[in-house]
């Protein structure tokens, strides 16, 4: 699992492009990096999950922690490209409805 963070778009959102399996081995590092990013002052983050095909409960837990951190700090969070099994797992965990989504361009 890898993630790249781009410079802010004209709308002020930094894009976090995530690739690979967000699983029990990789998700904790991802969660920590994103929480640190939010704590470091990011105010708008857009997560592109279109290249994530596998998401387990640790991955869902990572997203929950990011949502919690965002709520605490007032950071705007957007998600796009949530599909396939990851989408089903997030729905079954009741987390999908907490994620503000936008369509891929």
């Amino acid at each position: 699992m890898e993630w790249l963070i781009s410079q802010p778009d004209t709308d002020g959102f930094e894009n976090v492009i995530v690739t690979g399996d967000c699983d029990l081995y990789a998700a904790p590092s991802f969660a920590k990096a994103m929480r640190d990013r939010i704590a470091g002052g990011s105010t708008r983050l857009r997560f592109d999950l279109s290249k994530v095909d596998y998401l387990d409960s640790t991955g869902v837990g990572a997203i929950i922690r990011i949502l919690q951190e965002g709520r605490r700090s007032g950071t705007e969070l957007l998600f796009r490209g949530v599909k396939g099994t990851p989408r089903k797992v997030l729905r079954m965990s009741n987390i999908l409805s907490l994620m503000r989504e936008e369509q891929l361009p």
Binding site: L24, D56, S57, T58, V60, G61, I64, L67, Q68, M92
Partner: protein
Amino acid sequence: MKRFIARKLIVDERNELFDAQGMRYVEFPSDFSRIREFTSLVLAECPESFREGNLLEQQLSEIIKNGIKHGNRNDPLKRLRVWYDLRKRARFIVEDEGEGFIELDQWNEFFQERQKALFDEDFDAFLSLASYRGPKSDETDGGNSLIAALEYWNGGMIFNEARNKVGVVRWYARGSASS
């Protein structure tokens, strides 16, 4: 008018889900680094229509992880025993050598409170309750595997009295999940 109904984890030693007759059997060492590998081995001959992408793999890996990590505490001397039947449905029994899921009742109470917050659309409360954190939870615990599992295993998810063995089944209709 909406009614609030929350599922819960059930203990039933004599449940038919623990009848291993005719099931295939394999056992694994408690190696946390190989959980996904073990899952793939069990599912090597799984019908494609049961896989639903990688959803079955994901759900089974959660049970294997729970047994290896929470049950056997990654003790290499303890084994994880898996019975499986992938003929008409996806059915598994997974048993570890640990002390059992002693927080089961506590987890049911947590889940009730969590789902009530969701039902009441109290999203701040729900977000704070989104993950279960037990006394031994760490960063690799999402705290939500059992929540999705209760929905995914549409034929049941049952624990034995010792709470170190779980039986699950997912039924399919015409090659796809019935719920």
